[in-house]
Structure formats: structure tokens, C-alpha cells
């Protein structure tokens, strides 16, 4: 079937409109549809990462139920339903209030659920040190495996110092 508008390209979009019982049909190609400004559901106009994301958020077989509807951030008032529509959180406390539903989503987006990168100096003092110790321990392990005992010993001392600092 050819496009009714240009008569050139094959019609790929088929609209059926029923207004007051009167039925009109329209068969056009995507190019002409865009020219006419016809709303094509599911195509690129206005399509963004947030649309894509809200698809992911909604997609959760276990989520069917009333719980999702009532989950609400006590700080900014955003509900989980609103979040899943917009694809964006309202405030940093949403992470806490939506926590039970968040891990599957983050797993799907990032393949992970736990941060391992930079930690702010002031806010995350303890966290930072614990991470540093973990990192040094991994390094220590690999030095031992490489039989680099001399530098492993000095690393072990640094780990002890740090652990003492946290403990105090």
C-alpha cells in the first residue's frame, strides 16, 4: 500500500479515527506523518533517556500490587509511581525511602548496586578509610602472590595504622 500523502513511499503507519461514529482511515509513511505532526506513539519525537528508564522501572514482575503505589518519600513527597513515570528522583532521601525497590532497577541499569569509587572527604571520613583499608588489603594480597615481601611488610604496617585510627 502506498502512502496517501506523497504516493511515493510505502505506507507504514495506519490510523483509524472514529469521531461521532464516523470512521476515517489514514495510511501514510513515517516521513509524511512527521511532516503532518501526527503523533506517532513510540517513535523518536520527545523520546529521551527518561522515557526509556521509566520502562525499566515499570518492568518488574514482582511489582504488581498496591505497595508500589503507596511507597512515598517522606522528605519530598514523591511517590514511587511518580518516580517510575518521570525516571528521576525528587530528592536524595528518595533513595532511602524507595530502597526496597531500587536494587533490581540499579542492577538492570548498571549491573551493580554498590558504589566503589570516590568518597567525599568530610561527609565520608570513616567510609573513606574503610575503603582505603580494603584497597590496601587487596594490594597486599597481590604483593604476597608476587612474593614481593619487603614492600608487603610496609603495606601491612600502614593497614595496621589505619585500623587503629578507625578504632580510636
Amino acid at each position: 500500500m502506498q502512502c496517501q500523502e506523497c504516493g511515493n513511499r510505502p505506507a507504514t503507519l495506519h490510523f483509524t479515527k472514529i469521531v461521532n461514529g464516523e470512521k476515517t482511515e489514514l495510511h501514510i509513511c513515517e516521513f509524511c506523518a512527521r511532516e503532518r505532526g501526527e503523533l506517532i506513539p513510540g517513535t523518536s519525537s520527545g523520546f529521551s533517556i527518561h522515557n526509556l528508564l521509566s520502562g525499566l522501572i515499570d518492568f518488574d514482575p514482582a511489582s504488581a500490587g498496591a505497595k508500589q503505589q503507596t511507597l512515598r518519600c517522606e522528605m519530598c513527597g514523591m511517590t514511587y509511581a511518580q518516580f517510575s513515570k518521570m525516571g528521576r528522583f525528587g530528592c536524595s532521601h528518595c533513595y532511602k525511602h524507595f530502597a526496597e525497590r531500587l536494587d533490581p532497577l540499579l542492577k538492570r541499569v548498571h549491573g551493580n548496586t554498590v558504589h566503589v569509587g570516590k568518597v567525599p572527604k568530610r561527609v565520608g571520613g570513616q567510609v573513606r578509610m574503610r575503603r582505603e583499608i580494603d584497597k590496601l588489603k587487596r594490594e597486599l594480597q597481590s604483593r604476597i602472590e608476587r612474593e614481593d615481601f619487603e614492600s608487603a611488610a610496609s603495606l601491612r604496617d600502614r593497614i595496621r595504622d589505619l585500623e587503629r585510627e578507625i578504632g580510636s
Binding site: 541499569v109 570516590k118 572527604k121
Partner: protein, 354 residues
């Protein structure tokens, strides 16, 4: 004469410096997303709250604490004209979202335009650093220093498990987006590009056009960036991007050599035709301009057009965008008038550097 320095020149000062691998990589960019602990994200902030976050963040720049890193100037978006905002977008200094939708949005801009800090975009704070050529690690170190300066006086929203909290769950964790802008004409000409780009997306990286998310890759310019921000450290993210970009650079360089060896005359013809058309045409739409400029850039790097200066090409990429054309003309232009103005500016720039 433009009112603000950023609107006078299409070529940011940092772009004039030479960077490694600049025959393939135009620029390396790091963006860090941060939020303040006790305020809702800009999306839900009231006018008072967003005013408050803006003033607090601007005061850090105005206190002079960033001066050692590039003597930045601060602009409130409400003080800028629509055209000035468009010019900033075209120079990659702000996002279309900050220009169009932000409430109490602001910009802190380094003197060399290598630092641009957006306030009240999707997140309270977005620190961006731009470096010429392939210097993604250097860009991260620089951006991280700026991050540390803000952190001295701002309580960031940080969670022990999730890391830095961001408005969009695709940025949570490290909050960084590292990207490399690459010119890959030989991979496109030899038909290898799709294979390479689909491989790139399989290792957790994204490929976009010149103007980021949703923009088409015109002029054979591709922006490769990380997708994942949670569960990998900043250095893992950057090393991963670095390693993949390094391979793409190698493929592009090999493809260029092969083109020269196997079809030198045809490549030379293509490059010189494009140079000729750019030098003499009276009407030039943006798509043709970016394609022809890509051909000429390839010619320069293959040594086929020794008379053309690379800075002029970098300048023309930005100068031929709608905002800059109108800024130069001093009035709003219809698309037809723009195509004429674009052709005129390309002709005069290419003629003046010869």
C-alpha cells in the same frame, strides 16, 4: 561587539592548545554530577530553594577559592539573552536543558572555557572539564580537584551504599560521565564503523553525535562515553574508556593509511572537491557543511591539504551553528538566510588563512 567574552569567539582558548592524538580525538571531557544534602533536586525545588542552592554554590566561585584553577566568571542564566544561551550550548559549555528549562540556573565558566560548572541543571552541581586531544585522565584529575573544593564547603548528598546521589538513577554512584570526541572518517568511508560501534556498546560504553544525547552523528564526529556509574571506580571507568578509545584510534589510523595506499587519488579527489565547494559555494546547509568540513579535516591529517589550518576547522564547526551565525550577523535569521551566512563565513575563513 558581544557583551560577554564567551560570545566573541567560536574557538574556546583551550581548543587552541595541542593535545595528544589530535588527528583523531578532538577533545576529552569529564562531567561530575553532585547534589546538596538538604535540598530537593532541582526538579522538585521551590523557587526559594533553587535560589538558595544557586547563591550558595555561586558564593564558592565568588569567594575566589577556584581562582587557582582558571579564574572563573559567574553568570546567572536569567541575565543572559536567548542567543547567548544558544552560543553557550553550541560551544558545549552548557546543556540544552540548562539553557531551556532550568529554574535559577547559573554557570561558572573558567577563563579558558576548559571548566564549566552548571548549577541547577538536572542536579544541583555539574562540573565539566574539557581538554584538547586524548587526555581523559588529565581531565578527570582536574575535575576531581574542583569537586574537592566544592566539597570543603557544601554537604554533598552521599550514601555509603549508593555513593553520590543524583536525580537520575543512571548517574548514581560516581556521578561521572567521561567522553571522548572522535573524528572517524576513514572508518566510515571503509564501512567498518558500524561493526566497531556495536562492539563499543557491548562493553558498556555509549556512542553519540556531536551534541550529546539524542543528536545524530554528523561530520563523522562520534562521542564515546561510559554508561555505567555504579559499581566501578572512577579510575576503572576511565581506564575502560581509555583502552577502548585507544583501540578505535588505532583502527582509524590504520584505515587512513590503507586509504592513502590503496586509493590515494580517489581520496585526494574527494578531499579537494569538498575544499573547492567550501571555498566557493554560496549556499551551504549545516549537514553538507559538516560533511565537507570532515573531508577537509581528513585531507589535512593525511597531508593532502597543507594550506589548511586545523584551528580554522575547529572554529568552523562551532561558527557554522545557528546561534553563532546569528550572533555574527547581529539578527535572527531564517534557515535560508543561515545557509547563505554559513557559506559566506566558511568562504571568508578559508580564504583568510591561505
Amino acid at each position: 561587539m558581544a557583551k560577554h567574552k564567551f560570545a566573541e569567539h567560536a574557538l574556546s582558548p583551550w581548543m587552541k592548545k595541542d593535545g595528544p592524538e589530535n588527528d583523531v580525538v578532538l577533545s576529552s571531557r569529564i562531567r561530575i554530577a553532585r547534589n546538596m544534602r538538604n535540598y530537593p533536586f532541582p526538579l522538585l525545588a521551590t523557587a526559594d530553594q533553587s535560589q538558595n542552592t544557586m547563591e550558595q554554590l555561586l558564593s564558592i566561585a565568588e569567594s575566589g577559592r577556584l581562582n587557582g584553577l582558571g579564574e572563573p566568571a559567574a553568570y546567572r542564566l536569567s541575565e543572559l539573552t536567548e542567543l547567548e544561551k544558544l552560543v553557550l550550548v553550541e560551544k558545549h559549555l552548557i546543556s540544552p536543558a540548562l539553557a531551556g528549562e532550568s529554574r535559577n540556573g547559573a554557570l561558572i565558566l573558567g577563563r579558558n572555557e576548559d571548566i564549566s560548572i552548571m548549577i541547577n541543571e538536572e542536579d544541583h552541581l555539574r562540573i565539566q572539564c574539557l581538554y584538547p586531544g586524548f587526555q581523559i585522565r588529565e581531565a578527570w584529575e582536574f575535575a576531581s580537584k574542583i569537586d574537592d573544593i566544592f566539597e570543603e564547603s557544601v554537604d554533598y548528598a552521599f550514601d555509603e551504599k549508593y555513593g553520590y546521589l543524583t536525580s537520575c538513577p543512571t548517574n548514581v554512584g560516581t556521578g561521572i560521565r567521561a567522553s571522548v570526541m572522535m573524528h572517524l572518517p576513514a572508518l566510515v568511508l571503509t564501512g567498518q564503523i558500524n561493526r566497531i560501534l556495536s562492539a563499543v556498546t557491548q562493553v558498556g560504553l555509549a556512542v553519540r553525535g556531536l551534541y550529546g544525547e539524542g543528536s545524530e552523528a554528523t561530520g563523522n564526529l562520534f562521542q564515546v562515553s561510559n554508561q555505567i556509574t555504579l559499581g566501578q571506580s572512577e579510575s576503572e571507568i576511565i581506564d575502560n574508556l581509555h583502552a577502548v578509545a585507544r583501540q578505535i584510534i588505532g583502527h582509524e589510523q590504520a584505515a587512513r593509511e590503507r586509504l592513502l595506499k590503496e586509493s590515494r587519488t580517489r581520496v585526494e579527489d574527494r578531499v579537494r572537491r569538498s575544499y573547492g565547494i567550501l571555498s566557493y559555494a554560496s549556499i551551504m546547509d549545516s549537514k553538507e557543511a559538516s560533511q565537507r568540513l570532515s573531508d577537509v579535516r581528513l585531507g589535512v591529517h593525511l597531508g593532502l591539504l597543507p594550506e589548511v589550518n586545523r584551528d580554522v576547522l575547529n572554529e568552523l564547526i562551532v561558527l557554522t551553528q545557528p546561534g553563532f551565525l546569528q550572533q555574527q550577523s547581529g539578527e535572527a535569521l531564517t534557515p535560508e538566510q543561515r545557509d547563505i551566512a554559513r557559506a559566506r563565513i566558511i568562504r571568508s575563513r578559508l580564504a583568510s588563512q591561505a
